[in-house]
Symmetry: C2
Subunit: 260 residues, 2 copies
């Protein structure tokens, strides 16, 4: 039996805050066993677009990606943010290697259909698009892959993807070859029974308990797709999905764990 | 005896011209044996700096790299240009994987001393800074490393380096573990006896013939450091250095070859 792989996803709340990023780099370096980091881009792409007078258009939280916007997100996510994280991890003794989906054909995506809405150069990933051979070889060599959410279609076109979806597709893809757990770093300590009380974190959610939590309104709004994606991941072979604060990465009791 | 590794360097004349880049991608994909690509950034960094109203300061052809300029070159070289080349190579069937020096600790550089001139975040590389273990593992796995000229100091700081120097340092570093030839793609067919006559390419230069060429003025100006660097490389273990047009990459008779 191969060792469990941990796939960790961080978003803007870590990437945009130098102190939070430095603290996370320390936590992530200490995390034992084989691991992969997936990062979002935070607000830097929006800031750069503004300075370049490229309009930012969002539909349901997804960035509409024109050719010009694709250049901006490729620069910011695959260049600035990815190399900043990798160089910090290297300095902390973690043998990080930054990857877009194009690198080594690591992850292939498909451009989202133009109907009903045209998102431009936006891609979606299926677990079969994950090059498990390459990732296994890197991991077996002691490398820690650090993915940005820029993928490719294998035909020369880069595609902007959602970092949460990239993390879950990589976890699902890798689950075909070894045990995998997925950790979403979140701005709150987990899924809370009472949003006003950080000590009300629900330790475990299963399909059965989720039905109740949704019915009685404990889980609502943006948490619904997050937990439903997590439930789909554990239903398809990922061992567990944890939602927790980045600062609690190595705390065995922290956050909410979603199990099958 | 291991197979000869070819290290190819391309600059702005290829990177800035979409048609030239597409043609090069085809040529490079057909190149046999293990290979590494090193690319410059072309004029894109200067263009982006201008749009962001960040002044571009050059001293003796080297970009003075402030913190802001470092962000620009990291975005353009490690993000935009690197991923554009990698995705095109992948589409052409070449298993390219983009790297900065930070990735996998591939190449370590040292910040240039602040005296006599302060270049800011500019680094220099010695062949000992090249992580031959990582590069050998990638190459043995059929991967084609594609390097931009952004390196790191191993302590969390990214450094802007000269792409010609990166190519020669990687060639020299790798020459300690296998035979290496180095190819500089150039905007002219090679070193010409008469600058007006493209058919006057000097096929071979050795230390002895170079002394004559320099003395009689055949080689002058910007060609002097180029050839002297090439002579230094072949004196230190690189088998040969070729200076040729990118479009002639696979032509056995093209360009000027510098030999020990």
């Amino acid at each position: 039996m191969k060792e469990t792989l941990t796939v960790v996803k961080i978003g803007g709340n870590v990437v945009d805050d130098p102190a939070a990023l430095d603290a996370f780099v320390g936590e992530f370096s200490r995390l034992r066993g084989p691991k992969i980091l997936v990062h979002g881009g935070g607000k830097e792409a929006t800031r750069l677009s503004k300075r370049l007078e490229i309009p930012t258009v969002m539909i349901e939280g997804r960035r509409v990606t024109s050719r010009e916007t694709l250049d901006v997100v490729t620069m910011v996510y695959a260049g600035l943010v990815n190399k900043r994280i990798v160089s910090k991890l290297q300095a902390a003794g973690c043998d990080a290697l930054g990857l877009s989906g194009a690198d080594g054909g690591a992850v292939r995506a498909t451009m989202r259909p133009k109907e009903p809405r045209d998102y431009g150069f936006v891609g979606d990933i299926r677990p079969e698009g994950v090059n498990t051979d390459l990732i296994e070889r890197l991991i077996d060599g002691g490398i820690v892959p650090v993915f940005c959410a820029i993928m490719h279609d294998g035909e020369g076109t880069l595609l902007n993807c959602n970092a949460d979806s990239v993390a879950s597709a990589i976890a699902l893809g890798m689950a075909r070859v070894r045990p995998v757990r997925l950790v979403y770093c979140f701005e709150q300590p987990g899924v809370m029974a009472d949003i006003e009380r950080p000590d009300s974190v629900i330790a475990e959610i299963t399909p059965t308990s989720y039905a109740t939590l949704k019915e009685n309104g404990t889980v609502s709004g943006g948490m619904i797709p997050k937990i439903e994606n997590a439930l789909a991941a554990v239903a398809s072979g990922v061992e567990s999905v944890s939602i927790r604060m980045a600062s609690a990465l190595n705390d065995p009791d922290a956050g909410t764990t979603i199990r099958p």
